[in-house]
C-alpha cells in the first residue's frame, strides 16, 4: 500500500507530542514550576536556555514539555468523553428510533446551535477554573458531530441483513448495538474523534488563555500564552514556543484525522487513487 504523507506526518507529530508528554520528567531541564530564579529572568533562547526563560527565570523549554501533559490530557480525555456520549446517544437513537430519537435529535440541534466554546465557558463559570472542570466542560460540549454520525450509521446499518439475522437469532438490543452496529461504524467515529482531539487542544488553550483553564503557575500551553501576552514585543519567545507547540500538535491531529479518513472511508479512497 502506498504510504500516505498526511497519515505519516500527522501520526509522527502526534506520536512526538505523546512521547514528550510521557517522558516530560526526563526531557525537562528544570522543574517547570519551582525552579524560578530572578537572576535568569527573560533570557533569550540560547544553548543553555533552549526556548529562553520567562520573567521569573523559569525555563520555557521545560514548561512547554510539561505543558504537553496538560494539553494532551485535556485533548484526549475530553474527546473520549465526547465520543462515549455521542456514540451512546447517536447509536441508541438511530437503532431504537421513536421518542428517544426525537429527544436526542433535539439535544443535538441544541448543542449545534450554541457555539461549543461559549457553552464550555458557561460550564467553567459554574464549576470554577481547574483541570477537572476543564475536562468536564470540554467533554460535555463537543459530542454533537459524533452523535450525528453514529445515528446516521445506526440507521443505515440496522436494515443490514446481519443485524436482522442477529435479531432473529435472539440477540438483545444492547448486544446488537455493541457487537453488530458499533464495530461497523468505528471508522468514521475514529476520524471524528481524532479531529475532535485537535479542536479540544485548541479549546483548552483558548479557555486557559482567558484564565478559565489551568491556573498559573502550572504550565499549560494556553496559560503560558496568556501570561506571555504582555511581553510579546520584548520577549517574543515566551509566546512563540507554546504557540508552536499548539500549532504542531493540532496540525498533527488534523493530518492524522484526514489520513485515517482516506484509509477508512472507501469512497474517499477511490477518489484519491
Amino acid at each position: 500500500m502506498k504510504l500516505r504523507a498526511n497519515l505519516a506526518i500527522g501520526g509522527a507529530l502526534f506520536a512526538v507530542a505523546i512521547f514528550v508528554g510521557l517522558l516530560a520528567p526526563w526531557l525537562a531541564h528544570t522543574d517547570p514550576v519551582l525552579d524560578a530564579n530572578l537572576l535568569n529572568a527573560e533570557e533569550a533562547p540560547s544553548w543553555l536556555w533552549w526556548f529562553g526563560t520567562d520573567g521569573q527565570g523559569r525555563d520555557i523549554y521545560s514548561r512547554v514539555v510539561y505543558g504537553a501533559r496538560i494539553s494532551l490530557t485535556v485533548g484526549i480525555v475530553s474527546q473520549l468523553i465526547n465520543s462515549v456520549i455521542g456514540v451512546g446517544l447517536g447509536l441508541s437513537a438511530g437503532y431504537w428510533g421513536g421518542w428517544w430519537d426525537d429527544v436526542v435529535n433535539g439535544l443535538t440541534n441544541l448543542m449545534l446551535a450554541i457555539p461549543s466554546l461559549i457553552f464550555a465557558l458557561a460550564i467553567m463559570a459554574v464549576l470554577g477554573p481547574g483541570l477537572t472542570s476543564l475536562l468536564i466542560a470540554l467533554g460535555l460540549t463537543n459530542w454533537s458531530f459524533t452523535c450525528r454520525i453514529a445515528r446516521a450509521s445506526a440507521l443505515s446499518l440496522k436494515s443490514q441483513g446481519y443485524v436482522q439475522a442477529a435479531t432473529v437469532l435472539g440477540y438483545g438490543d444492547l448486544r446488537i448495538m455493541v457487537t453488530q452496529l458499533l464495530p461497523n461504524m468505528l471508522g468514521p467515529i475514529i476520524v471524528i474523534g481524532t479531529l475532535g482531539m485537535g479542536s479540544a487542544v485548541l479549546s483548552e488553550a483558548a479557555l486557559s488563555f482567558l484564565g478559565l483553564g489551568v491556573r498559573p503557575p502550572y504550565p499549560s500551553w494556553g496559560s503560558m500564552l496568556s501570561e506571555a501576552r504582555d511581553q510579546i514585543t520584548t520577549a517574543p519567545w515566551l509566546s512563540v514556543f507554546p504557540g508552536l507547540a499548539i500549532f504542531l500538535t493540532v496540525l498533527g491531529l488534523n493530518l492524522l484525522g484526514d489520513g485515517l479518513r482516506d484509509v477508512l472511508d472507501p469512497q474517499s479512497r477511490s477518489r484519491h487513487t
Binding site: G161, Y162, Q164, A166, V168, L169, G170, Q180
Partner: protein
C-alpha cells in the same frame, strides 16, 4: 406422538397498517408442524409466506402487525410471552436462515466468533468453551479444516460456504424448529443441491423440524413431507408432498405443477411451450371478491366471484380451499 404440536397456527391474520386503514395482507392461515416434521410453504413473491414466518418468531415490524389468530409453540401462545421470553426462544428453540448469505453475516467479525456467540448467548458457556464448540459446529456443516476456518472473515468465504456457516449458527443451539426462508435462492444450482442435502441430513439427524419457505415447488416437495400452497395471502391447499404433485386439487396448484419443466418432457425438448398461469397476482390493495384466484382460474364459476370458499378437509388427509372440491 402425544402432547401439543411443536408449532400450531390458528386463523392467523396479518394486517398492513396503511394510512388510516388496515389491509389484511395475510388471513385465515392455519397449519401445524409436529416435532421433527418437514413442512413447506410455497407461493409466489408477495403472497405472504415470509411475513407468516416473521409473525411466527414474533418479529413483525410496522407497518405490519398481527391482526388476529393464535400462534402456539409447544402449546404456549407466543404473542402472550414477554419480550425476554420471545428472545429466549429465538435462536435457541426456533432458528432461521435467510435468503442472502452474502449479507447475513457480520462483515467485521470472524465467523468462529459469530458461531460461538450463540453458545454464550443461549447456553451460558464461557468464551473458551464456546470457541471449541464453534469449531465442532463448523465441522458438522462439512467445512474443511474448521479450526483454521473459524478465524476467517465472511468476505473470505464463497456464497455456499457462508450459507454453511449460517446453518452452523442456526443449528448451534439445537433448535426444535428451523425456518429456512428461500435458503438457496442466491446460490448456484450445484451448490443449492449440496446445501439442501446438508440441511436435510442435519435436521433429520437431530430431529429438528423444518419450515421451508420457497417459491420453488420442486425443491420443497423434495425436502418436505407436507406442503402448503399460499396464494394472495391465503392458504389454498395443504397436502402430503407426494400427493400434491400427483393430484393437485386447487386450480392454482394445478397451474404450478403444470408449469414445472420436467426432464425429458416435451416442454423441455422445445416441442411444447411450458404451461403458464394466465394473468398476474392481484395487488394487496385490490384483492378480488370471492376466491382470490378467480380472475386467473379457468374453472371459475359465479360462486367463485362472490363467495370466499371455505377450507375443506379431504378424505385422504390434507386441506383445500376451493368451491369445486367442497
Amino acid at each position: 406422538m402425544t402432547g401439543p404440536p411443536l408449532i400450531e397456527i390458528e386463523d392467523l391474520r396479518i394486517d398492513l397498517n396503511h394510512g388510516s386503514g388496515r389491509i389484511p395482507a395475510v388471513e385465515g392461515i392455519s397449519f401445524r408442524i409436529d416435532r421433527g416434521e418437514t413442512f413447506g410453504l410455497v407461493g409466489e413473491s408477495g403472497c405472504g409466506k415470509s411475513i407468516t414466518a416473521l409473525a411466527l418468531i414474533g418479529l413483525l415490524r410496522q407497518p405490519l402487525s398481527i391482526g388476529g389468530g393464535v400462534i402456539r409453540f409447544e402449546g404456549k401462545e407466543i404473542q402472550s410471552l414477554p419480550a425476554a421470553g420471545q428472545r429466549a426462544l429465538r435462536g435457541n428453540r426456533i432458528a432461521m436462515i435467510f435468503q442472502e448469505p452474502m449479507t447475513a453475516l457480520n462483515p467485521v467479525s470472524p465467523i468462529g466468533r459469530q458461531i460461538a456467540e450463540m453458545f454464550v448467548l443461549h447456553k451460558g458457556k464461557s468464551w473458551r468453551e464456546a470457541n471449541r464448540l464453534a469449531v465442532e459446529a463448523l465441522a458438522s456443516v462439512r467445512v474443511a479444516a474448521p479450526e483454521r476456518r473459524v478465524k476467517d472473515y465472511p468476505h473470505q468465504l464463497s456464497g455456499g460456504m457462508r450459507q454453511r456457516v449460517m446453518i452452523a449458527i442456526a443449528l448451534a443451539c439445537g433448535p426444535d424448529l428451523l425456518i429456512a426462508d428461500e435458503p438457496t435462492t442466491a446460490l448456484d444450482v450445484t451448490v443449492q443441491a449440496e446445501i439442501v442435502e446438508l440441511m436435510r441430513n442435519l435436521c433429520a439427524e437431530r430431529g429438528t423440524a423444518v419450515l421451508m419457505i420457497s417459491h420453488d415447488l420442486g425443491l420443497v416437495a423434495n425436502v418436505c413431507r407436507r406442503v402448503a400452497v399460499m396464494y394472495a395471502g391465503r392458504l389454498v391447499e395443504e397436502r402430503d408432498s407426494a400427493d400434491i404433485f400427483r393430484t393437485p386439487l386447487h386450480p392454482y396448484t394445478q397451474g404450478l405443477v403444470a408449469s414445472l419443466p420436467r426432464l425429458g418432457s416435451r416442454g423441455v425438448l422445445g416441442r411444447n411451450r411450458l404451461k403458464e398461469i394466465a394473468g398476474v397476482v392481484p395487488a394487496i390493495t385490490n384483492f378480488p371478491a370471492g376466491c382470490r384466484f378467480n380472475p386467473r382460474c379457468a374453472q371459475a364459476t359465479d360462486i367463485c366471484r362472490t363467495t370466499v370458499p371455505e377450507t375443506s378437509l379431504l378424505e385422504t388427509g390434507g386441506l383445500v380451499r376451493c368451491h369445486h372440491h367442497a
